[in-house]
């Protein structure tokens, strides 16, 4: 009876409101299609020959049919597997190190706020978050290229990525430890004779999972898409390049060969789009909580 009742109530919702909902839905569908139209057009045209692209870039399939030639060429010319490997290695290592180092730092700062060193480090980190990369890029090239000569190395880039992102991540972990992890848990471990180091890894770190997920999403996306820092650190040889650098260089060399360029662009976007298909909710949540807390 109750269910029948609710249904009848819903049916009585004013017709205008229901029409409004339908119109809104149609509007959103159109907007979404317009939003992703650039990607759709890249996909369409990446499988066409040069003549077909120039003849009609809006057509889904060209007059000369479907071709994979562009992809074969782009993959070889941009050394796709090499640069993909570089991007994967650099993003993975930098993300893991950022998480480990900043969770550790946040732990000692959060539990010993009365220490001078804790206060100075946290203040410096928070204040540094407003410094744009453009202010640091010249000195970085000067110090690490000129004085130390350690550019053109993936390890240097990874450590620099970590150095730039620890401040934000430490700040976020710090908040999470202070508000979500009861000190009593650690005190119990302490009484049982567990060292601080062990307490952190066995008790605190596993409880930080939600924040680890957020930091992973934010930093992995930032590292994967970063262009300016990698382009300054990894100049040569080209076997060190990441996907954004390779895309930029590729465009500079082959910009007249449209099919090739579009295939390269699609290849550059593909890994993260595929990942998004599977981790969409996780990524959206991570970005939201990161933006709101940070």
């Amino acid at each position: 009876m109750t269910s029948a009742h609710t249904i009848s109530v819903r049916d009585k919702a004013p017709l205008s409101a229901r029409i409004g909902k339908i119109l809104l839905f149609i509007l959103l569908v159109i907007l979404l299609l317009a939003f992703i139209l650039p990607f759709i057009l890249v996909i369409f045209n990446a499988f066409k020959s040069m003549n077909d692209i120039t003849a009609n870039p809006m057509a889904a399939v060209g007059a000369h049919g479907f071709t994979l030639k562009n992809f074969v060429g782009a993959m070889a010319k941009m050394k796709f597997w090499t640069v993909l490997g570089n991007s994967v290695i650099i993003t993975t290592c930098a993300t893991i190190l950022t998480i480990l180092f900043s969770a550790m730092a946040a732990f000692v700062i959060a539990r010993n706020p009365q220490w001078k060193a804790s206060m100075i480090l946290l203040t410096a980190m928070v204040a540094s978050m407003v410094i744009p990369f453009q202010v640091l890029m010249v000195p970085i090239v000067s110090v690490y290229g000129g004085l130390f000569g350690i550019l053109n190395s993936r390890i240097t880039l990874i450590l620099m990525h970590v150095g730039f992102s620890v401040s934000m991540a430490t700040f976020m972990f710090h908040g999470s430890i202070r508000s979500n992890i009861p000190v009593e848990l650690e005190e119990a471990a302490d009484i049982d004779g567990c060292s601080r180091w062990k307490t952190f890894w066995t008790i605190v770190f596993p409880l930080l999972k939600p924040m680890i997920a957020t930091v992973t999403v934010i930093d992995a996306m930032a590292f994967w898409n970063d262009y300016l820092l990698p382009s300054l650190i990894l100049q040569k040889p080209s076997s060190l390049w990441t996907i954004p650098i390779a895309t930029q260089q590729f465009y500079g060399t082959y910009s007249t060969d449209l099919g090739l360029v579009l295939a390269a662009l699609l290849l550059a976007m593909l890994p993260i789009l595929v990942l998004y298909l599977f981790l969409q909710r996780f990524i959206v949540e991570g970005v939201t909580s990161g933006a709101v807390k940070g």
Binding site: L24, P57, W115, V130, P132, V135, P139, S142, V284
Partner: protein, 293 residues
């Protein structure tokens, strides 16, 4: 008790915070200080000697008309982009929180441009502007070839704003969605029962309660716009005739193309100061009238 000893404290601190502190200092603090020193030298980027020139670089920065043009253009670009992005993002957030079917799908879809870096996005749009729009425009114009928007200074600026809004709107939408979710529905319902029209309830109840979301979004879009480089490089490359060079690109070119590292660094610092002041004003103004719910 051994835990009160300084050596124990130092050991604990270094063990946990050492790696993060070391990298942070090496990558942020050292370059920041060294950068201040560089602005006082006329380093060319290659030689080992860095002749001391005092404040000459700052004078050169102040006298660099191209720099001020780039800054002015950046301000115009930023103001327009920030306003439109936030209007679009708010509207999108409003639409996808109205209990419509498939709203998670819409949210995920509008966010897609943010997954991809500015370099790739810029080239994708370059193709759209130079090929697709030209081809469609020419078809509409009945065969006459329509020039690409990117070939005129105003068109290039428009393209930069357009692509930035397109990218950032989906991101800011997520923050506004979180804001909408945070507004207690009963407050809005109370206003409606008291005879408030839905649009008035939106203006006088929901929007004031979402003040934090607005402050966050406006701050984030402003700082991003001031420092934008990737899209500028790939979409317009500063063309036509250097008319679309934004501040960050000008600084990069000054230092790395013209090899005037001292001047470039001084200009970067000035840019940073302007950006920091704008940010502080925004946060201050935003906090001042915060509504307690």
């Amino acid at each position: 008790m051994k835990r009160n000893k300084l050596s124990y404290k130092a050991g604990q601190f270094l063990m946990f915070a050492g790696p993060a502190a070391f990298l942070f200092i090496m990558v942020v603090i050292v370059p920041l200080i060294y950068g201040l020193y560089l602005t006082l030298t006329s380093w060319d980027g290659v030689s080992l000697s860095k002749p001391f020139v005092g404040l000459a670089n700052y004078q050169a920065a102040l006298a660099d008309t191209e720099y001020w043009q780039a800054l002015l253009l950046t301000v115009i670009y930023s103001v327009i982009t920030v306003v439109i992005t936030n209007i679009v993002a708010f509207a999108l957030a409003y639409m996808v929180t109205s209990g419509i079917k498939g709203q998670n799908l819409f949210r995920a879809g509008f966010f897609i441009p943010n997954l991809i870096g500015g370099i790739v996005l810029g080239y994708v749009w370059k193709f759209i502007f130079n090929r697709v729009f030209v081809s469609v425009g020419s078809a509409i114009a009945g065969g006459a070839t329509v020039p690409s928007l990117l070939s005129t200074p105003k068109g290039a600026l428009f393209a930069l704003i357009f692509v930035s809004v397109w990218q950032y709107a989906g991101y800011m939408m997520l923050i506004y969605i979180a804001g909408f979710m945070g507004v207690d529905n009963s407050l809005k319902e109370a206003a409606l029962i008291d005879g408030c029209s839905p649009s008035k309830a939106m203006w006088n109840v929901t929007i004031p309660l979402m003040r934090t979301s607005f402050v966050t979004c406006i701050f984030l879009t402003t700082t991003r716009c001031f420092m934008v480089y990737d899209i500028n490089l790939s979409l317009t490359k500063g063309d036509p005739y250097k008319s679309s060079v934004l501040a960050a690109m000008h600084v990069y070119n000054k230092a790395f193309t013209e090899k005037q590292f001292g001047v470039g660094q001084a200009e970067a610092l000035v840019l940073f100061l302007i950006c920091a002041i704008v940010g502080l004003i925004q946060v201050y103004v935003g906090r001042k009238g915060e509504v307690q719910a």
